[in-house]
Symmetry: D2
Subunit: 367 residues, 4 copies
């Protein structure tokens, strides 16, 4: 029942605070015999790492991941894998202001109300830094998926930054790695650069929308009712810091469609697998994957730390004002992209193992 864990069989427990000695992920249920090493995991961590462009926090963290257990001679053994990342850039600074004042939009006040104690240095456990652990675990999940479902691909990208959305007719997945925003629309990326540059100078911040797509997911993953694939994806994405909404396929827009408009008709493909006229469902029917692309979107709120003074109260209940200085992201959504991918990888691997355990390999064949 651990509240810092996710997954059923492939089970990830993250630990550690933003300014403690280290943070990491304890990962149980990793299938044995998966080839993995620190270099591979580092690849994914480097994508999330801060300080890579002027649009993300200037905190300098090497985010070097170490594998402390569960891997022997380059292969997983089936026992728990401990992934540790040491915190190296914990600037010694004066925390007395945020120790006493609650920063609006942050978890300062609720942690205090809940626990009566909080690690006030940089958000403690509620810091976005916690997501480094998830990316490390996601790297492990990707390695396992690569051997179990060859061809499965997971790609995340931003589709909206404040008022500026991408134009889907211009989408080109080749662009995603070519700009600091994981943006598949080169023109939108340029607009975002201008827009975020301005925001950053004014000390403001902005929200964003991220889309994560998994291609090559086998049909049959998920389970009825509460073990739905979309249920677990919704939980996975909503658990990421600052996320305020999650959609599958048509998402919130489904409220506005008729049954005729929303229908994904079914045909038989040349390869003997069903094909669909459209993918309003986002690759999931009744909680179970159809074999189409699994499509998830989530919205990230604007970073709460801004340079504009805000009204708040102190621990002793006195009214005061706060300006949150520090090394913050003007658009925390950017670094949420690799995190969303990692969560997708973890959920898919978990459901693959669940399916294999509960049902085995004998599925219903069509035709």
């Amino acid at each position: 029942m651990s509240l810092n864990s996710f997954g059923h069989i492939f089970r990830v427990t993250t630990w550690g605070e933003s300014h403690g000695p280290a943070l990491g992920a304890t990962v149980d249920g990793v299938p044995p015999g998966v080839a993995v090493n620190e270099v591979q995991l580092q690849h994914w961590l480097d994508r999330r790492k801060p300080g890579q462009s002027k649009y993300t926090t200037q905190r300098r963290e090497a985010d070097q991941v170490r594998i402390l257990s569960g891997v022997f001679e380059g292969q997983t053994t089936g026992t728990p894998v401990q992934l540790m990342i040491e915190n190296t850039d914990q600037r010694s600074k004066d925390y007395s202001e945020i120790a006493e004042k609650f920063r609006p939009g942050h978890a300062d006040i609720t942690y205090w109300q809940k626990y009566g104690i909080r690690d006030y240095r940089g958000g403690g456990r509620s810091s976005a830094r916690e997501t480094a652990s998830r990316v490390a675990a996601g790297g492990l999940a990707r390695a396992a998926l690569a051997s179990l479902v060859p061809g499965l691909q997971i790609t995340g990208y931003m589709t909206q930054v404040g008022p500026h959305g991408i134009d889907r007719t211009r989408m080109d997945m080749g662009q995603v790695d070519e700009n600091p925003f994981w943006c598949p629309d080169a023109q939108a990326a340029e607009e975002w650069a201008d827009y975020l540059g301005g925001l950053r100078k004014s000390g403001n911040s902005v929200g964003a929308m991220i889309e994560v797509v998994a291609r090559g997911v086998p049909a049959g993953l998920g389970a009825p009712v509460y073990g739905k694939l979309d249920t677990d994806l919704a939980a996975a994405m909503m658990s990421i810091n600052a996320v305020k909404g999650v959609e599958i396929g048509e998402g919130m827009a489904a409220a506005m469609l008729t049954g005729e408009e929303n229908a994904d008709e079914i045909f038989m493909g040349n390869d003997g697998q069903p094909v669909y006229s459209s993918n309003h469902a986002g690759g999931i029917l009744g909680g179970i994957s159809t074999g189409q692309d699994v499509v998830v979107r989530f919205a990230v709120k604007p970073t709460s730390s801004i340079l504009k003074p805000r009204q708040t109260i102190t621990k002793s209940g006195e009214a005061t004002e706060i300006v949150t200085k520090g090394r913050h992201d003007p658009c925390v959504g950017i670094r949420a992209v690799p995190v969303g991918e990692a969560m997708m990888a973890c959920v898919l691997l978990d459901h693959l193992l669940l399916h294999r355990g509960h049902v085995g390999e004998n599925r219903g064949r069509i035709g």
Copy 2:
């Protein structure tokens, strides 16, 4: 790890198929000493019951709930409560068509692909009928909340039906029980009546948006990272049939706001509790309740069963056409309102018990 269960301490497992002898909920972790009886639970079930207006399915089910265990002399004993609802209107009819053909938008094809067997009578386990069990469990959760958190109120209502949304300036919660749509805007309710009347005649269907608000939630419920209150709410709502998106507070729109616009500033209230200038957060910061209203929205897709013929395939892979006759809801969102309320009640009670277990009563005081 049951895939048909939800909740950590207050743990609900639903069972049963649409056309089997009965369905129900096995509820463990119910606090002892809660006054509850079948009449109370029936009140909530009657709100979800089909056939109450021409806008919902005409299937006639008494939906009579029985308490088979865990209640003694009108009080819960702390042992599992079994809630059973017998299916009474299982029309004997010819299922041979849907036994062979996969209905688009339904779980027919994915259940088949996953399990290689499915109860094809009326959707089996994937039928919206399963939500009756949730409403029964939700009634139990409400009874427990009533004794543990006096004053806590949970209200659900529809805010959008296809192209027609409510006007929030006209919202009047007194209207919610006065129309068949749980609509807080009397004028919108009239528009919906016309619109849905037309859809029903043409054999079409439409999606909807539901909002559920909990007032009087104590600050401090929820937990960091994966045990976030919003994580569990997202999972709870996404697990309801036909739901395609879930939002907390500002939700997907947060992607479009700046940090300045999104900030909920903090003040000290006259009662010695913090008050906020706004509630963009939807009552949750860092996964933990602030004491403000907890606000969740979810989108329900249009009913997939429509009278218009649709292309599909058979179990043997042959192309065919299907028209889904039957007693279906033109807008399944209507009956999702009491289900959303039930899920909110279950999640809040669960987190109340979790908090009490993990932290106890000693919270951080402000002031």
Copy 3:
């Protein structure tokens, strides 16, 4: 985290009280496509049913099991199976004495101290009647095992009744079904008949030892550390009413052996599988099955309800005396035999599914 559930993938939640309308088991994680029906399950329930000889309680219960969900056209569908047994022989009698007085050795006092409320009719949830639900679930597990591991056999029997143990040189498994004690030693069975006859007349009771053996268990089931096969077997058996100790293989006697005496040497069998010189380990090494017989023993304390007056207190704390009349078992161990078998079946199936999920079919080959 349900406290009335056991199993990881094959997950059984039992519910119901001794004198309520019904009791049963909600079983999730049942593999799809398993042939099962009520007649098959009834077979196992009839073995545990009371009133079959003068050595067990004279309560007359049909113990008729009904399958309410999860089985369609004679096969499991992979969705939750609800197994319900109605209570039919709830004699109306005067419970005022046991409502006020705590019966020594029963859970009356601890339920009261824990919950502040208890169903005092016949033990409520703590009644041995709860084990009927386990036997029903065990029947389902056996059906699944029969299709997944042909040849696997589970047999339980009594080895000790008070001072009278079996003589292992006289063991003959063919005897087990030939006497009312599941005794593999015909001579011991005769001694027990005499001994228990005397005890019954004097209103006394006695403890017993039960051994359950699973033959044909594949090597590789279980997991290191806390998911050990023996850990789960110990929990399963200890959770049965009145059990006070559990042993695997050599058990408590291992404390008295030297390493030389305890070693199970390994050889290569003619069939290409390892064979062992002995089975001190009880078929489990490091928490994982070896392929040898899995051997578990557990001790059941004497029935606490005896005719001899005993000192106790009332709910209001006054000293008093109690004689527990009623229809009790002079040796509750007899009916624990089918329960132990059922728990073994559930644990083995669960670990089979766990193994299949986590590791898959590719195991390490020897040779």
Copy 4:
């Protein structure tokens, strides 16, 4: 469902191998505000540490524990606590023999059969070294218990070593820390010294029996059926390496008693709490604590590594002989004493939090 975790609310996941860089415990559900530091935890680790007498392995490990998260300014914050112990004495040696041959009585063969890969250096995950993590977690549990249940005491000791048992009439708890065997009987300790000295020289080993007693446990901990306090204790103890049997109170001997002999009669104590004439029950009735001493015993098999040659096979299935050299414990039971205490502490804290969450503070009062 993590198979390397135990506990419901206070949830411990251990990780790490005997010869990897480090091992440890990720502990979630730690109540906030508990004063704890590394020095306190080290106290418990030092009791389990190898190399403290000639009767335990001569491996030299500092077993220095580090707290990497979840503690801030000397107090727990309610977030996960990471406890890490670096392995320092991993002698570089030739493992080629045990890499190829399966050591009888060890998990070598079953890990191989299960996973098809194993860390063959010193037992990997199945090494008794894993229990260092448990002792660290147990230290944390003790710290929390000290603040939540002042006066609760947990004491473990050995009662049997091979043929030599303690004489309970000579028991003196003051002796436990005065000899290298945690023996409460000074005379038995001398016998053990002689006996183990001889065994060690001859390269043999021996089993042992450990008893752990918790005094001052409040009445009401535990839950019916599968969440029984004794169920969790049985699982906890059986999960320790080399344990083959677990007993509560009268234990296996209960099989030999009559109801008259086994009855613990109830009286009212001067302090308004129930007292009992005896404690055959071991402090637990119906799975729930009575307020009496909770008494658990477990048997540890003899160390499998002995100097006498044993028959075995290689990975390729060839017959061979093995002599397990190395730095092993002649009686691994000695170091199991602090481990048993740690497991008791973890289980009691967990059930205390469970009770507080599910039931709250309002229990049934007697009188």
